[in-house]
C-alpha cells in the first residue's frame, strides 16, 4: 500500500468532476491510499500568480504546511495545481527570506512550513511508484484495438521536472499501452490547448484547440486521453465550438487518464464520472464492454478549415 496526501484542486469538484471521481476510484484497486488534504484551499493557479505573485506563494504555502503535518508526498491530479504548488515549493526552498516571511504570515493560522514536502502529479506517481506493469496485471477489460491519443498538455512536462521529455514525452503513452490500447503518436501531443485563456480570449485560442484535434484525428485517434482538467474542458466542452467556427466535424471523446485506467480496471463507468464527458464516450464504452468495432469517430478529416 502506498500512502499519499491528496490535493484534488478546485476543478475536481466542478469542470473536472470526471477527474476527481476517477482519481479517487482507482486508488484502492491500485493499492494507493489518497487521503484528501483537510480543508485545502485553492492553489492560486495562473490567475493568482499573475495578479500578485508573491502573495500567491503564501496562499499555496498554506496547503504545503497542511501537507507537511502528515509528512507524505502531496499528490494532485491537476496539471495546473502541480506546476503552481511545485513552483511555490521550489521558491520557498530556495529563498529562505521568502520562507521566513511566509511563515510569519502562516503563523496567524498556527501553521508553519519547513520546505520538506514533495509535490507530485498523479501521472508520475502511477508511472514511477505504481508502475505500468503493476497496472497491467490488474486489468479486467483490456483496451486492445483501441487507438488512443495521449494528450499531455503543457504543465505536465514543462518546465522540465526531469521526469519526462519536454517536447516529446512518453509517460502517458506507456500508461495507455499498459492498458492494452495503441497509443497514437501525434506530433502536437505536448502543445498548448489554450489553458486559462479560453474564457477570455476564445477567438485566439480556438485555433490551438482545433490544431490538436486535427493532429490527433489525422493520426488515427479514436479518442483522446489527458490528465489535465483544463485541457479536458477545452478539448471536450469546446469541441462543438471548434466545429462551428471551422466547419469541422470532430467527434473525439476526451477521457481523463484516470477514467481510462478505471475502465480497464473494471470500475463502473458512473463511478468514474463518465457521464460528465460532453463529447459522448458512448462508442468507447461500447467497444470496451461489447467489443463493438467501429471506425474513427470523426467523419471527415479536414485538411483545410
Amino acid at each position: 500500500m502506498k500512502y499519499y496526501s491528496f490535493f484534488p484542486g478546485c476543478s475536481a469538484e466542478s469542470t473536472g468532476l470526471g477527474l476527481g471521481l476517477s482519481a479517487e476510484a482507482i486508488a484502492e484497486p491500485l493499492d494507493m491510499e489518497l487521503v484528501e488534504l483537510e480543508d485545502w484551499n485553492c492553489c492560486g493557479s495562473t490567475p493568482y500568480g499573475s495578479l500578485a505573485e508573491e502573495e500567491s506563494i503564501a496562499v499555496a504555502a498554506r496547503n504545503l504546511a497542511l501537507a507537511e503535518k502528515r509528512g507524505l508526498d502531496l499528490v494532485t491530479p491537476c496539471s495546473s495545481c502541480y506546476v503552481t504548488l511545485s513552483k511555490a515549493n521550489r521558491h520557498l526552498q530556495e529563498h529562505p527570506t521568502l520562507l521566513a516571511q511566509v511563515n510569519e504570515a502562516l503563523a496567524v493560522a498556527d501553521l508553519e512550513y519547513h520546505g520538506s514536502i514533495r509535490v507530485r502529479h498523479i501521472v508520475y506517481v502511477l508511472y514511477n511508484d505504481i508502475t505500468p506493469e503493476s497496472i497491467a496485471s490488474k486489468i479486467k477489460w483490456g483496451l486492445d484495438g483501441l487507438k488512443i491519443a495521449p494528450y499531455y498538455g503543457c504543465q505536465l512536462v514543462r518546465p522540465d521536472y526531469g521526469l519526462d521529455d519536454t517536447e516529446f514525452p512518453h509517460t502517458l503513452d506507456r500508461l495507455v499501452e499498459c492498458l492494452g490500447a495503441e497509443a497514437v503518436d501525434f506530433p502536437l501531443k505536448a502543445r498548448c490547448c489554450g489553458g486559462s485563456l479560453t474564457l477570455s480570449e476564445e477567438d485566439r485560442v480556438l485555433g490551438l484547440i482545433r490544431s490538436l484535434l486535427q493532429s490527433a484525428a489525422e493520426n488515427g485517434a479514436q479518442c483522446l486521453v489527458t490528465p489535465c482538467p483544463l485541457c479536458q474542458t477545452n478539448l471536450d466542452a469546446y469541441q462543438s465550438r471548434v466545429n462551428a467556427r471551422f466547419k469541422t466535424s470532430y467527434k473525439l471523446p476526451v477521457l481523463f487518464i484516470t477514467q481510462l485506467i478505471g475502465l480497464a480496471l473494471g470500475i463502473e463507468a458512473k463511478s468514474l464520472g463518465m457521464n460528465t464527458n460532453i463529447v459522448s464516450p458512448r462508442e468507447v464504452l461500447d467497444y470496451i464492454y461489447n467489443r463493438i468495432n467501429y471506425m474513427t469517430t470523426h467523419q471527415k478529416v479536414d485538411k483545410r478549415g
Binding site: D165, E167, F168, P187, L188, S211, R304
Partner: protein
C-alpha cells in the same frame, strides 16, 4: 655548517613597495638569526638585481639565499639560476611571496608590513634546513607518436618527419584524412578540400620517416616524458597490405551492402570496401560485422568468399591472394619520446533536438551530410537534391544547433557561421534556390572571413536574425502544404514568422569524440569543462598539457578551423622537435623518497599516486618511487600510514621551521 643567509627584499616597482615598507622588512630581516646580509632593491629579477645576489654570494660567502618578492611560479627558476651561476646549489634558495600573498591582497600598510616580516622570517628559518639537490636529466627518445590522422595529425607528422626524425602516425580509421577528407570546398578561399589535403595524405603515406598505422588504436601507454612505451593494436583488415593493389575488383563482387560511414549513411558500401576513393593507404579492408564469410566462420560455416572465388560468368576474384580471412589483430609496442594527440571532433547529433525534426522529417539534414551531397564525389554526384531526387527551390540553414545552448553545449563551435555561409555560396552556385540563413550572431573573425560574409550577402542569400523555434511539416496555410516550415522570430523586425522551405540544413556544432574520456585516461591528460582536452595555459601554452611530453593539436583541444588547426599542429611539432633537439629532459628534483626500512608494503602510496610513479617490488615487498615520473605532489607522503615517505625539499623539518618562523 654555519648558515650565512642573504635576504633580498624586492620593491617590484610600487607593486610591493606601495603597500609594504620594504626597507623596514629588510631591517627586520637583518636582525634574524643566521642572516649575514639583508637588502632591499627595486627590481630583484632584473639584471642588476640578480647581480646583487651573485655579488653577495661571492664576496660575503653566502650559502643560503632568500628573496622576498613575487610568486615562485613567476621567478623561482630565475633566482635559482642566478645563484647557480654564482656557484651555489639552486636548492639552497627560498622565496617569500610578499606580492600575491601580501601587497596585492592587503590594504592596511602597517599590517601588510607585519605580514611580510612573518613570511620572510618563515623563509629564513626554512632555508636553513634546505639540502643540496641535484636535478636529474634523462635521455629523450627522438621518436614521436601522433594519435589521429586528420589534417592536424598529418601536418604535425610531416613537419617532424621532415626534420629527419621518426613518427608513428596512428589512426583508428582505415584511412587518414579525418573529417577534412569529407569536405567539399573550404572557407574562405573555396579551395577544394580534397585537392589540398590529398597531396599531404600521399606524402604522409610514403614518407620514409613516417610509419603509418591505420585501422589501429593505442591500447596502453606507460612511461614518462622522453621515454614512453606505447602498445598499439593493429586491427585485422583481413587483407595483406603488401599484396593488395587497390584494384577494387573484390568490391564490385561483394554482395553485401551496408550504410557508408564516410558518406554519412547517404549511400552504401560493401562489406569489403575502400574507405573512399582517395584513401591512404589506397587499399581495401573487410568489415567483420557484415562480411558473410567472417560471420559464418563464427558458426562454423564456410559461406560466400566471392571476393576470393570470383563469380560465374568469368569474373575472377582477387588475383594477388591479398584476402586473408585468417588474419588476426596484431599488437605492437613502440617507444617514443613525445606524443601529439590529434584525435579531432565529432559532429553534434541533432536528433536529440526533437523540435528540429532531424531523423523524423525528411529533408532535414546535418552539415556533414550536406558536405557529402554537394561534393561531386559524393552520393548524389554533387547535385543538391531532396530525398525524392527533385531540386529544392528554397533551403534554410539554421546556425548554432547544439552550440551556445546550455541544454547541449554552452560554447560556440567557431566554424559553423563560416561553413554555413560557404554552403549558401555553394547552393547559389549549384542551384537557383532561395537561401535563408538563420543566425543569432555572425562570427566571421578570421583573415578574409568578413570579406567572405560580404560576398555572400551580395550573392543574394537572405540573412534572418532569429534562432528558429522549430521545424515542422504541419501546414497552416495552402503555401505551407508539403513543405518544411521553419517557425521563428525575425528579431530585427520583431515578429513571429513562418517560412516554408524545401530543405533544412542544421549547422551542427563540434563536440569531442565519443572516446575522449578513455583517450584522456590513457595519456593522463585532463579535459576542460566543455569536454575537450585541457591545454596547459589557454593563452601562453595552448598545445602543451599538464603531462610533460604529451601535446595537443587541432579540434581535440577545442573547435577550430583548418588554418588554426594547421598552426596548432605545427606548434605541437615544434614542441616535440624542441625536446628532441635538446636530447635530454630535466626531471623534478623535489621527489618523494620511500624509506624501505619503514615501508610495510601496504601500497596505499601506489594507489594514491596520480602520476603512476610508484611501483611495488614483489620480492622485497616494499614500494619504490620512480624519480623521473614523480612530480613531488606529496599525496603519498600524506597518505603513508607509517610515515615512511618523505618529500625532498618539503621535509617535516623544513615545513615546521617555516611555520615557526611565521608564528613567532
Amino acid at each position: 655548517m654555519e648558515p650565512r643567509i642573504g635576504v633580498f627584499i624586492c620593491h617590484c616597482g610600487s607593486n610591493i613597495a606601495g603597500t609594504v615598507d620594504c626597507e623596514e622588512v629588510a631591517r627586520f630581516a637583518g636582525g634574524l638569526e643566521g642572516v649575514a646580509v639583508a637588502r632591499d632593491y627595486k627590481f630583484m629579477c632584473s639584471d642588476p638585481g640578480q647581480e646583487l645576489i651573485k655579488k653577495d654570494i661571492r664576496e660575503l660567502g653566502l650559502n643560503r639565499v632568500v628573496v622576498a618578492s613575487c610568486s615562485p611560479t613567476m621567478h623561482e627558476p630565475t633566482f635559482r639560476r642566478a645563484i647557480q651561476e654564482a656557484g651555489l646549489n639552486p636548492y639552497f634558495f627560498e622565496m617569500a611571496n610578499i606580492r600575491e600573498h601580501v601587497s596585492w591582497v592587503s590594504v592596511d600598510k602597517l599590517k601588510a608590513t607585519e605580514r611580510a616580516k612573518a613570511l620572510v622570517a618563515a623563509a629564513v628559518r626554512r632555508v636553513y634546513y634546505h639540502q643540496p639537490l641535484e636535478s636529474r636529466e634523462v635521455d629523450i627518445n627522438p621518436n614521436t607518436l601522433v594519435v589521429g590522422g586528420g589534417i592536424a595529425g598529418i601536418q604535425a607528422a610531416l613537419k617532424i618527419a621532415d626534420s629527419g626524425n621518426k613518427v608513428y602516425l596512428v589512426d583508428k580509421n582505415p584511412s587518414i584524412g579525418g573529417h577534412m577528407a569529407q569536405l567539399d570546398k573550404t572557407f574562405p578561399t573555396l579551395d577544394c578540400s580534397a585537392c589540398i589535403l590529398t597531396p599531404k595524405m600521399t606524402l604522409a603515406g610514403s614518407h620514409p620517416n613516417i610509419e603509418l598505422l591505420t585501422y589501429s588504436e593505442v591500447e596502453e601507454v606507460s612511461g614518462y616524458v622522453g621515454n614512453f612505451k606505447v602498445k598499439i593494436r593493429k586491427r585485422a583488415r583481413y587483407i595483406d597490405l603488401g599484396k593488395c593493389t587497390g584494384c577494387g575488383r573484390c568490391v564490385d563482387i561483394c554482395p553485401v551492402k551496408v550504410p557508408d560511414e564516410f558518406e554519412q549513411g547517404l549511400s552504401q558500401r560493401k562489406a569489403i570496401y575502400k574507405p573512399f576513393a582517395q584513401a591512404v593507404p589506397n587499399k581495401v579492408l573487410i568489415d567483420p560485422e557484415n562480411c558473410l564469410h567472417l560471420k559464418g566462420l563464427a558458426k562454423g560455416k564456410d559461406v560466400c568468399r566471392l571476393c576470393q572465388k570470383g563469380v560465374k560468368g568469368g569474373i575472377i576474384g582477387c588475383e594477388t591472394g591479398a584476402i586473408d580471412f585468417e588474419q588476426q589483430d596484431e599488437v605492437i609496442e613502440v617507444e617514443v619520446g613525445s606524443v601529439i594527440v590529434a584525435t579531432g571532433f565529432k559532429l553534434f547529433d541533432p536528433g536529440v533536438i526533437y523540435q528540429y525534426g532531424y531523423g523524423r522529417l525528411e529533408n532535414v539534414i546535418t552539415s556533414l551530410e550536406f558536405e557529402r551531397i554537394v561534393n561531386s564525389a559524393g552520393p548524389t554526384s554533387g547535385h543538391i537534391v531532396l530525398k525524392d531526387g527533385s531540386e529544392p527551390q528554397s533551403i534554410a540553414l539554421i546556425h548554432c544547433v547544439g552550440s551556445r545552448d546550455e541544454q547541449y553545449h554552452e560554447y560556440c563551435s567557431r566554424v559553423c557561421c563560416m561553413y554555413s555561409m560557404k554552403f549558401a555560396h555553394l547552393i547559389k552556385e549549384h542551384t537557383s534556390a532561395e537561401v535563408y540563413e538563420f543566425y543569432i550572431d555572425i562570427r566571421s573573425f578570421g583573415k578574409g572571413y568578413e570579406e567572405f560574409y560580404n560576398r555572400i550577402l551580395e550573392e543574394g542569400t537572405v540573412f534572418i536574425r532569429g534562432k528558429p523555434a522549430e521545424v515542422t511539416n504541419i501546414a497552416e496555410t495552402r503555401e505551407e502544404e508539403g513543405k518544411l516550415i521553419v517557425q521563428f522570430e525575425d528579431t530585427l523586425v520583431g515578429k513571429q514568422r513562418r517560412l516554408p522551405v524545401d530543405m533544412v540544413v542544421l549547422s551542427c556544432g563540434l563536440e569531442p569524440p565519443g572516446d575522449v574520456e578513455a583517450v584522456g585516461r590513457m595519456f593522463n591528460i585532463s579535459r576542460s569543462a566543455d569536454g575537450f582536452f585541457l591545454e596547459k595555459h589557454p593563452k601562453l601554452d595552448p598545445v602543451a598539457t599538464m603531462t610533460d611530453g604529451i601535446f595537443l593539436a587541432g579540434c581535440c583541444q577545442g573547435p577550430k578551423d583548418i588554418p588554426d588547426t594547421v598552426a596548432q599542429a605545427l606548434a605541437a611539432a615544434a614542441e616535440a622537435l624542441a625536446m628532441i633537439s635538446r636530447g635530454k629532459v630535466e626531471v623534478e628534483a623535489a621527489t618523494a623518497i620511500i624509506n624501505e626500512k619503514l615501508c610495510t608494503g601496504c601500497q596505499l602510496c601506489k594507489n594514491v599516486c596520480p602520476y603512476s610513479a610508484i611501483s611495488f617490488d614483489e620480492e622485497k615487498k616494499v614500494c619504490r618511487v620512480n624519480e623521473a615520473l614523480c612530480k613531488g605532489c606529496g599525496a603519498c607522503v600524506g597518505g603513508c600510514p607509517g610515515d615512511a615517505i618523505s618529500l625532498s625539499h618539503y621535509t617535516n623539518e623544513q615545513i615546521l621551521a617555516q611555520m615557526e618562523g611565521a608564528l613567532t
